[in-house]
Symmetry: C2
Subunit: 216 residues, 2 copies
């Protein structure tokens, strides 16, 4: 039984699994879940049909893997943009900029892969992946806000959870606009303004004016 666990030899694969997943991402993203046919995927991924089914199961499980990998990659990108050692304002600006840039990438699909899931929106696994991703990013922003409180970049009574949630909702809005073809420049400008909106202290705050932002 154990002697059977020899390394597989056989004919070597003519493609890289990770690379194939990335290409599949583009195909799904560009054409939507239903719109992407197996032919499209086979052509785009550079794998044979039987290999696709042997390795990724079927169309739906392939999409799940794509979605999972996609959210992980985005998560990593967000983490990097948000947690690099810089001021809170720069962190948020960098986060929003990164989101807009990824949603308006030239030569790639626009918007967000998650906007293609409509046909699968009732799939439990899909909901789980997306809700997890959303919660993760929100938690990350919250975390960064709490850091900002402890470093004094924002006042102690800053409503961390509320602002984090609002910022994420705002990003979702930007992303949808990207899908509809609104140019990157416009979205970048709006993103910058959003940082101010979320970050600037309110009129009723006890914090002294001008402490948190030069424009204030």
């Amino acid at each position: 039984m154990f002697q059977n666990t020899v390394k597989p030899c056989g004919r070597p694969r003519s493609f890289d699994e990770g690379r194939a997943l990335e290409m599949a991402t583009q195909v799904f993203w560009l054409k939507g879940y239903d719109g992407a046919t197996i032919d499209d995927l086979v052509a785009g991924m550079g794998v044979g049909r039987p290999s696709l089914y042997a390795i990724f199961g079927n169309k739906q499980t392939l999409f799940l893997r794509v979605l999972q990998a996609y959210t992980e990659k985005k998560g990593a990108r967000v983490t990097q943009a948000l947690l690099s050692p810089q001021t809170l304002r720069d962190s948020l600006a960098s986060f929003l900029r990164s989101a807009v840039e990824s949603a308006t990438e030239e030569g790639s699909a626009q918007g967000c892969l998650a906007l293609c899931v409509a046909p699968l929106v009732n799939d439990v696994k899909v909901q789980e992946i997306l809700q997890n991703a959303m919660a993760g990013v929100t938690a990350l922003v919250e975390h960064r806000f709490r850091d900002g409180v402890s470093t004094g970049e924002i006042p102690p009574d800053f409503p961390v959870a509320v602002r984090a949630s609002q910022l994420i909702d705002f990003v979702r809005g930007l992303t949808m606009r990207a899908l509809l073809g609104i140019p990157r420049k416009t979205l970048l400008k709006d993103a910058e303004e959003a940082v101010d909106l979320v970050l600037l202290p309110r009129g009723g705050n006890a914090a002294p004016k001008g402490m948190f932002n030069e424009r204030c």
Copy 2:
């Protein structure tokens, strides 16, 4: 030539065109554009297949009519919520509440019909309809803000265009969350907080504290 413009007689229709469009809306919304088959539409709309093609052209043109009617209906709803004679704060709250409620309607599809368009996102007509709708709503919010300025509800230097755009982006975010099954209660709470975020005067404003909002 003119005597030929007699009223058509023929066999009467067994369905109401407007009602059929509404049902088609639900089908597309629930299943997505690709996911909704002609069988689904025929069953949901209560029309025969040939009638569907005779009256609505084909699937794509049917969807365009559905989308057009949908945006017009939403537009009317927004107008009503936003322009009823009430304070600016109440107008915005009512607008956001209406958006959340419509996106979380029980017994109806969740989110927004526009989130089903992925397969048609490159269709010029679809982009036109959606961009028009978006621009219309934004313009309406701007208009209400300008009213608020002239009635003194918000200070003269209130960045009308920026705030309007930000509010709409925020609504888009709420809508996407509705699609993913976030409960209405949560979204309503967030919507209320968004009104504060957008409306409250900033720390650096010349306006006296407490003038525009009792909570401030």
